[in-house]
Amino acid sequence: MSKVLFVEPEKCTGCRTCELICSFTHVGEFNPLRSRVSVVSFEKTGFSFPAVCQQCSVAACMQVCPVGAITKDQLTGAMKVNDKTCLRCKMCTIACPFGATFYDGEHDAIIKCDLCDGDPECVKFCPSGAISYREAYTANRSKRKATAAKFQEVFEEGR
């Protein structure tokens, strides 16, 4: 069973370290706009949520891609984009229900979380442990169930 990025928003302080380290790891610059993970913060309530690709098992991005440029990495289970075959039609960015696949105009490329090939940097650098990388099966079962149910509902509502 592959590991997943497990987000616990109640622990997130909105410091955006994950965004910085993510963009630095992938494009060599500290630029939140080019980070694969992005933190949504609501000032009024002080709630912060690091939004990142869920590596869906039935992935909308993969379904809409006309050339099969998005495939599941055998090792990590991450949905990866092949830059060479991608047409830049950007259908995947419109299709992703979480807004986690987007277009980087500067690099002319579709970007999304690739789980850093199995060693996610955001997990290592998050000072409050709001993002962890866990076996989908060993993650606390009841908690996992609750989160899954939550996401399910959110997902349904988002459609």
Binding site: M91, I94, K150, E157
Partner: protein
């Protein structure tokens, strides 16, 4: 199996094209009509190389993008003959797309002479057909080549707006010479003689996609997506998670 390219031994898989081998080995071959999503078309002829095959005493000029390696051959990618062909091609292409920086670069490299202007303005199109292939992959096939000879160009049937076009701009994106023009003013998008009113995000009000694109999405995924733009989808997700937490 081994072949030689510019006198260097290189291991290849049977069936790989010369272009694939050269790309892998970082050997320069200019291309216009090649895209990895489609494979070789042999349309632009820019990738011509010289090949010495066993049992033939005369070398052949072949398109590297459509030549699969099936026997031990010798390939030359910058021989005099190759350079001569590229010079001619670039000279002709430059007349069609004078503004293109890559063509300019090649014209310089191969010392291509300048030709007088064409009577019909091809507006930068070099007829590489990549736009046709992209549109076909999108499952639309809204554009095709029309007319013959020097009048040949890419168009929708009778230059009219077509039901097939969904305004995704995949054609304009892939065009190597940026010859496909479109207009976008925030609310509307016009391409191939068709004007689309963009659908606005239900959350922030920003227009973000055509109705036809959303329709395509529905067809491919089998579900209805809320009409929310990409940045707002994150926010929507976050506010819903927040709601469930409390």
């Amino acid at each position: 199996m081994f072949i030689t390219i510019n006198n260097r031994q290189i291991e290849v898989q049977t069936g790989e094209t010369i272009l694939q081998v050269c790309r892998r080995e970082n050997i320069f071959i200019p291309t216009f009509c090649y895209h990895e999503a489609f494979g070789g078309q042999g349309a632009c002829r820019m990738c011509m190389v010289e090949v010495k095959e066993n049992g033939r005493n005369k070398n052949r000029l072949v398109a590297a993008c459509t030549y699969p390696v099936t026997a031990t051959i010798e390939v030359f990618t910058e021989s005099d003959r190759v350079q001569q062909v590229r010079r001619t091609l670039v000279m002709l292409l430059k007349r069609r797309a004078a503004q293109d920086p890559y063509i300019e670069e090649l014209a310089h490299k191969y010392e291509a002479p300048l030709l007088p202007k064409l009577k019909v303005d091809p507006q930068g199109c070099i007829l590489c057909r990549l736009c046709i292939l992209a549109c076909e992959k999108m499952g639309k096939s809204a554009i095709w080549t029309v007319l013959r000879g020097i009048d040949k160009r890419i168009a929708t049937p009778y230059d009219e707006e077509t039901d097939e076009c969904m305004g995704c701009k995949a054609c304009a994106e892939i065009c190597p010479t940026q010859a496909i023009t479109f207009l976008e003013d925030g609310e509307k998008r016009s391409i191939w003689n068709k004007t689309f009113t963009l659908v606005s995000c239900e959350r922030c009000g920003k227009p973000y996609a055509t109705r036809e694109q959303l329709e395509y999405m529905r067809e491919q995924t089998g579900y209805e997506t809320a009409q929310i733009c990409e940045p707002c989808r994150k926010k929507t997700l976050a506010s819903q998670v927040e709601k469930y937490q409390n």
